[in-house]
Amino acid sequence: MKKKSVTKILLSVMVLLVSVAFCACGSNKSTESSETGNSSSEKTTESAADDTQADAANSDNSCFTVGLSQEISSLDPHEDTDAGTRSVLFNVFEGLVKPTTDGDVTPAVASDYTISDDAKTYTFTLRDGITFQDGNPVTVEDIKYSLERSAEMDGESSALSVISDIKLVDDKTVELTLSEANSEFIYNLSVAILEQANDANQATNPIGTGPFKITNFAEGQYLEMERYDGYWNKDLDCVKSAKFKFIADAQSAFVELQGGTIDMLQYLTSDQVQALGTENYNIVESTMMLVHGLFLNNSYEPLKDVRVRQALNYAVDRDAINDFLFNGKSKIIQTHGYPTITAWYNADTEGTYTYDVEKAKELLAEAGYADGFDLEITVPSSYTQHVQTAEIIAEQLAAVGVNVTINQVEWSSWLSDVYQGRDYQSTVIGFDISSLSPATWYKRYYTDSSNDFTNFSDESYDETYGKALATIDHEEKHQLYGELQQILTDQAASVFIEDPADFIAVSNKYTGYQSYPVSAIDLSLVKPVQ
């Protein structure tokens, strides 16, 4: 009898647990349907059918599924977000202009624009007949609202804070007046144009003017989109629906790519590329658009001396790092710049520092560190690329007497301690291209700038930066920004290593994918192979 009661107990416990699970399911449903403010919950029920259809459609080639390695942080395009989120929202929102595949901008919400001679007044013509994804026409009021909203959300550091006045000349013309001349301002105008009437719901019910509209967002899991047939560019011929799926683990993502659950994946390692083969996949070789390097805290005693910093530049074998991590496919850089953006990149800086252990030792001795010194490299543990680079560098620096210790920290800690607190000696990280305007990139090395986390300071740099900002002539700008890059190299602001190669695999059931120099996964270029 006792034996039976034990079994009974076990059974009843299991029944209890299972019923708890089902209760939780039940209450889940009721919570979701009673959510009035969150319209995506209604969409969940209707697109539950869509999802199963989409899964079936996946085999019909009409739902393009992209694997993402980071979650989408927000659906509000004016919120300061990460590159991953921006590359997804690229399809849903547009600004007065939008980026092109070669680093320039092209008119989007505006059909045309003019810049005054003194580079203080920008005049835009609203495109005829352009509508939001809910069918409402875009008005000049929406433009004003959007620019003001973005500026407000970003605060003082907003690129749009230089706008002193937005004048609605008529219902097709908007005139922006800047408080100071800025010839590059057009690059800041890819800020999303949103509908003023939707103000309360920008984050929960996103509506833009782009070629795709969001149909379902399961936070932390996936985002679904559908082609917007009222889009202003009628020449588009692309996939009808798409899904961005968040997959936390890179290895699992790769398996899903191989299994056909997803159609596109970025940031493949060179081993994975070889494993895939070219039979069923197109590999697009692109760059990550990152300035990847060993960043030096110029305030750390030994690193205060330019000769020490230069010595480090001679002591690091960039090719070895490139070969090991990227099969040699990355582009070696020696300054803070993006080689694919030829408009601003100073290629003369390349080759300044060769791999020369003797020269490195010489410089160290000159600076009084013949016996080397201790250096701590703090790396965010979640980025294997950076950790591995740090390990390689540690070995290389040991050859010149620099005693390296590697300190792995969590990402949040890296942000608060290293980036904000500047409590570090050196770190390996990559800076992505947050804006098409070079002024933003080079502000990072301006004395006392809020993001000068390397504590770099150089008078001639500051002077040249000021001149570059002031001038409106493109040629002169190119010249001056080139000078800035040269200063960064000569003064060895840090050890700049490479712009890492980015291998993107796209299933060859689809064609047309092209990469952008800014964060963008442009679905409008992709279409199923017939």
């Binding site: 107990i9 199963t52 942080s73 550091s157 699992s252 398996v255 659950t261 949040s412 993001n451």
Partner: protein, 314 residues
């Protein structure tokens, strides 16, 4: 009755203590929730605004008291990261699948390890036992992460009976959800099966040495009758404790398996919320795990009393 009340009071005190501990721990470690949410180059004004909104500039105890007040009414606040959802909604969306996975894994564990353990004990020293021993050793040695990947590759890419990453949520398609979860449940269960089998085998073998077994045999019981009629329920007692620990562990959310199989469960939520410093979610998740552990221990105590009348608390 008094026993129940005592246990419930213990539960409440434990929960309070743990929640205070978690709260304090997070205020001490580096990492700023606002920066994590807004990103590296956010303006100081934006960061200050978010910090004020989340009361991060207040002293720890004040924040804790505020949180406690709301929590007692069932309001665990708003997630920082998934800011359109309340913590309750978030947990409700993640808990069911974790619980389902745990239940499935648990069933597999019980169904497989009990017979295997008994078999191993019955034929102790023979090749059956050796074989089971070897296999369990191997399964225990394989890290669950690797096991998950291997299973996915074998069943997904080679045999093609499994769609990698093809998770369907319960609301959409219950059957499809369960089907997809079978492989992850197996991946969770395998290492645990190995341990339970070993435990049960040893427990049975030590019971077999006892006097009452000799008596049972001398009264004419067959081996099977002795094993299943007399020994099993005695041998199960220590195993129950162990299995309870296993249950608590898998209910807390198998992070690694969830990661590998792209299952949106509690494990992944925990890790994400810790690394993004999403305090409200972390608090609630820790409370969930604490409750699970305490409740399961409580159930185990009850089971003990029912299984073994000698063990009775006053």
């Amino acid at each position: 009755m008094k026993y129940f009340i005592k246990k419930i009071i213990t539960l409440i005190i434990t929960l309070l203590f743990i929640s205070l501990l978690t709260f304090t721990a997070f205020s001490v470690i580096p990492g700023d929730a606002a920066v994590s949410k807004l990103g590296v180059d956010a303006s100081p004004e934006a960061i200050a605004r978010v910090r004020a909104e989340y009361e991060l500039d207040q002293p720890v105890l004040t924040r804790y008291v505020h949180w406690l007040e709301k929590a007692l009414h069932g309001d665990f606040g708003q997630s920082y990261k998934y800011d359109t959802m309340t913590v309750t909604q978030l947990l409700q969306s993640r808990l069911p699948v974790t619980i389902l996975l745990a239940v499935m894994a648990f069933i597999i564990i019980i169904v497989v390890s009990l017979p295997l353990g008994m078999l191993s004990a019955r034929y102790a020293g023979k090749w059956v036992d050796m074989l089971i021993n070897q296999v369990t050793q191997i399964t225990m040695a394989i890290p669950s992460f690797f096991l998950g990947i291997i299973l996915t590759v074998i069943f997904g890419l080679v045999l093609k009976v499994f769609q990698p990453g093809g998770y369907v949520s319960m609301e959409e398609d219950m059957k499809g959800c369960i089907e997809y979860l079978i492989l992850p449940a197996v991946a969770v269960a395998l290492p645990k099966i190995a341990m339970v089998v070993k435990y049960l085998r040893n427990s049975v073998l030590s019971e077999m040495k006892k006097d009452y077994v000799r008596t049972a045999y001398s009264k004419g019981n067959s081996v099977n009758q002795v094993l299943y009629g007399h020994v099993l329920r005695n041998a199960l007692i220590p195993v129950i404790t162990f299995v309870a620990m296993v249950a608590a562990e898998i209910l807390a959310g198998s992070l690694v398996i969830e990661q590998v199989f792209s299952i949106p469960g509690m494990g992944r939520l925990m890790i994400t919320s810790i690394s993004t410093r999403d305090y409200p979610v972390v608090q609630a998740a820790v409370l969930y795990i604490t409750s699970i552990v305490v409740i399961i221990n409580f159930l185990v105590d009850i089971l003990y009393q029912l299984a073994d009348p000698r063990v009775r608390t006053a």
